[in-house]
Symmetry: C2
Subunit: 531 residues, 2 copies
């Protein structure tokens, strides 16, 4: 039960942990938030009063919120600072403008349905349930995304003489030698109870099978590495295993080798056919609310019964008021916009650093990688250009968009400092270690350093465990009638699912306070995830 506050009570309340923290605490007590995989808001029709919501930002978190709010009878106004809808959900095509501060770019790709560059999210993990729900609702055409191409290349400047190697060869040999060495080291006496002799023998067999060892538990190469030759009309000849010490000296096993094992990168993954912006289109096509572009928020003021927002639009300062505000402005930007937030909330906003991220799309006039038996997925390098992506669609066609994708903060920062032409030059210079002839296939490129993109100025929120303890709940809870949303307010920053999750948390919370019912305000959906 949410009680009404007097103005003084209200100000006191938002100065502390927030007037509606009780809702969150009760939901936790009910076990709904901590045990279910998914919390999707199930909004009741809005009461006659309190039905106007202002949404700041037109990324997925706001669009989802607007979509759900509209269906419950709320009136929504969406303000977006940039010239486009979608936030970091950005697919770039020929003719598009890339709004980087300092280096605005125009994309010169050919106009062709296959020649697009997902500069933001590009793949869909199956267990991202909110995302899958909306894809199903809007019937967005999907296809399988190749996130792990065992035929692509590993390149390590400090191993194998800098020579590229097929991922499958590296992996097969690494597994083989690991199993061989482990098998040699195993000693029955090391295996105390509860392990039995039978367990010990089974484990030896396990290692043989795991590494594809011979009858003496030695690794002598494996067809898993790909054949050296033959195998069709002549006998197959296995590749000679690489020296395990070379593998140990390389860096691929430190984390990249296990990429496809990780929770969010695990096969199968999906992508939206024709570009990930079809997901944004799905929302836009199903939302009636006004989305005002080029509207930059100047001030956010919390009041007892409303929130008012000033913004600049077409040279004019304007104002809009609502019963509630859903705010997906990046925290580090919001902390610099004048407001009357409680001090600790404002401190929280400014305390979470924002990550760097760099992606570059390069139109190639020939899909030269297909001549190397590569169809989709990516090669890895220990240079700044960490991943080189090959398009998984448009197979056998003439041209294709390659993507350079880097995560490393320092590398990303270095690339961000260069101008677009210098970035391309540096990327090609490094890529030549994998594809010596790459230069001759380049048509044009655009680069997207997210930490330099106008109105975004950063990619994912960088939560450390300490920052989580200190500030996460404070920002997840509303302050009065104002909710921060977006992937930044989730345990999945940098993923669309984080944006959906945060939006649905806020929607559930709003619904509960509007209807004074907290026991039914979250809808735990069990997707049969448990074993």
């Amino acid at each position: 039960m949410i009680r009404e506050f007097s103005r003084r009570q209200f100000l006191n309340a938002i100065g502390s942990a927030g007037g509606s923290a009780a809702v969150y605490q009760s939901a936790l007590a009910l076990g709904l938030l901590s045990t279910s995989h998914n919390v999707r808001a199930s909004l009741k029709p809005v009461p006659e009063a309190s039905k106007k919501v202002i949404l700041l930002g037109a990324g997925l978190a706001s669009l989802t919120s607007a979509y759900e709010l509209e269906r419950a009878g709320y009136e929504c106004t969406i303000l977006e600072a940039s010239h486009r809808i979608g936030g970091r959900s950005l697919t770039i095509r020929g003719g598009d403008t890339v709004d980087e501060l300092g280096y605005p770019q125009k994309c010169d790709f050919d106009k062709n349905k296959d020649l697009f560059f997902n500069a933001g999210p590009s793949r869909i993990p199956i267990h991202h349930h909110h995302l899958m729900h909306y894809l199903r609702t809007f019937q967005i055409p999907l296809e399988v995304f190749t996130n792990n191409n065992r035929n692509a290349w590993v390149h390590d400047t400090k191993a194998f003489g800098g020579k590229r190697m097929r991922i499958k060869q590296y992996t097969a040999d690494a597994r083989g030698f690991m199993a061989e060495l482990s098998s040699k080291s195993l000693n029955r006496n090391d295996f105390d109870r509860p392990f039995t002799d039978n367990d010990f023998e089974r484990f030896q067999a396990f290692l043989k099978s795991y590494g594809d060892l011979d009858e003496n538990a030695l690794y002598k190469g494996s067809s898993r590495a790909g054949y050296q030759s033959g195998g069709m009309i002549t006998p197959a000849i296995k590749k000679t295993p690489i020296d395990f010490r070379e593998i140990l000296n390389s860096s691929f096993w430190e984390h990249r080798m296990h990429w496809a094992q990780s929770e969010d990168q695990s096969a199968p993954m999906l992508t939206a056919t024709g570009g990930m912006d079809t997901i944004i289109d799905g929302f836009v096509d199903n939302i009636d609310s006004k989305i005002l572009l080029n509207a930059q928020v100047q001030n956010v003021q919390l009041h007892e019964h409303s929130v008012s927002v000033s913004y600049r639009h077409e040279g004019q300062l304007k104002q809009v008021s609502g019963d509630y505000c859903f705010n997906s402005i990046p925290k580090h930007i919001m902390s610099g916009i004048p407001n009357n937030f409680p001090r600790d909330y404002q401190t929280a906003l400014s305390s979470i650093p924002r990550g760097l991220l760099f992606k570059m799309g390069i139109q190639m006039n020939k899909r030269f990688w297909e001549d190397e038996d590569i169809y989709g997925g990516f090669s890895w390098s220990d240079q700044d250009i960490e991943q080189l992506w090959y398009p998984p669609h448009g197979l056998f066609s003439k041209k294709g968009i390659m993507i350079v994708y880097m995560f490393n903060d320092e590398a990303t920062y270095r690339f961000g400092l260069l101008n677009p032409q210098q970035r391309l030059e540096k990327a090609l210079h490094e890529a030549e270690a994998i594809h010596p002839d790459i230069r001759k296939y380049v048509d044009s490129a655009v680069s997207v350093p997210w930490h330099r993109m106008n109105h975004t100025m950063g990619c994912t929120a960088k939560w450390t465990p300490e920052l989580r303890d200190q500030w996460f709940k404070r920002l997840q809870e509303p302050v009065g009638r104002h909710y921060m949303i977006g992937d930044q307010i989730s345990y999945h920053p940098g993923w669309q699912e984080g944006a959906f999750g945060s939006a649905h948390f806020a929607l559930s919370h709003l619904n509960a306070r509007q209807h004074n019912e907290i026991t039914t305000h979250v809808n735990a959906i069990n997707h049969g995830q448990g074993a």
Copy 2:
């Protein structure tokens, strides 16, 4: 240089290793066959004489041969025993007839582009170069095939209390415990030269990373197994690891766990959009030669300058003669058709056993697996129904075709003995261990035991190393003007690439003898496969 034989010389020659064995030996001596990944025939225009080729069977080997022969000016006649083109390349749709001996079936699937059943080949390994060449030539629409779904289920009647488990959970825990136990057992003293202390430390780090171990090299669960809960708007909670002894007692690690590591099952794989018979259509659309269906070969006679074939068609016994014969009739069937082959060749034909294989397509009126976060790929069981496939296409639509796919000879034999209704009943009974409610979604099913299919009566040729030594070259070489072709005459039986390889070997051979040039008769194509 092939010299012309007198009739007696001819008969003597085909009674020994074959008159043109020299060509094969020379090609081997040139190193072309044993070192290249690929041999694709490059046929010169046919001389005016000797241009008529009879092709027996209308599977991929014959179709490829006809396609290439036509382009060099040969005249081809194709005789096919069954009512359809494609051989084991069979995609079944609603209304189709399944020509099983004893149990002819009609397919009752709905007529819908997504509701098809690839009863033969269904996936395309990237390194199958001949296949990829023709897919590119005919511009067959392709899509990524999910061959390894880490979200699908492992089911083992003898482990985990018979309870299904996500493949990713099994795999993450198996890797974790393997690495932990190996790390514990490792002893610096076990590592002789050339391993250094640094190598030893790197290997310990390798194991930690491989198994996702904690700072003490212990496995305490991993997000790679999927979360127990949370991870979006609440903290992620890891799953409790399963007992490693349970894993050791299970059978999944014996080979199924490593499925996606193997040469031909490795990601990424492709499939033909809309059904694999689009590949057959690609050939048929590009071949002018007459393909006579329902034409069953009765006799094959080798002559000095020709081959003559008798066949039954529409109740009549007919005969056709050609300068050459390309024969893809399954060996075990061909050995029972009257002929004048040399005795050893005939013995070779009858010496290679034919494998069993069973597939069943079941139309489900709901894609219930999508509610379990499964999109494509397959679950595994240690029961007779080894693999349960989920369609990778038509995501979010209403219905879908599941496939039961079994390799085990005994299981396949057992299923083959049952009638179609009993097969469905047994498959569903076993599948209930994975999907308890599966029965309520069944619309209809068709089953294809390849060892009982009319005019085929078997799946892949079963070559043992001993049989290879004894008979492979004998059958790969022509006998006079008669070539055996098909995946049966390859090191890749059961794969389309084996059929292509055998056809191109025969084509190269024919080309060389026709033009008396063996030094140029094979075209080694280097696909950049080496590292």
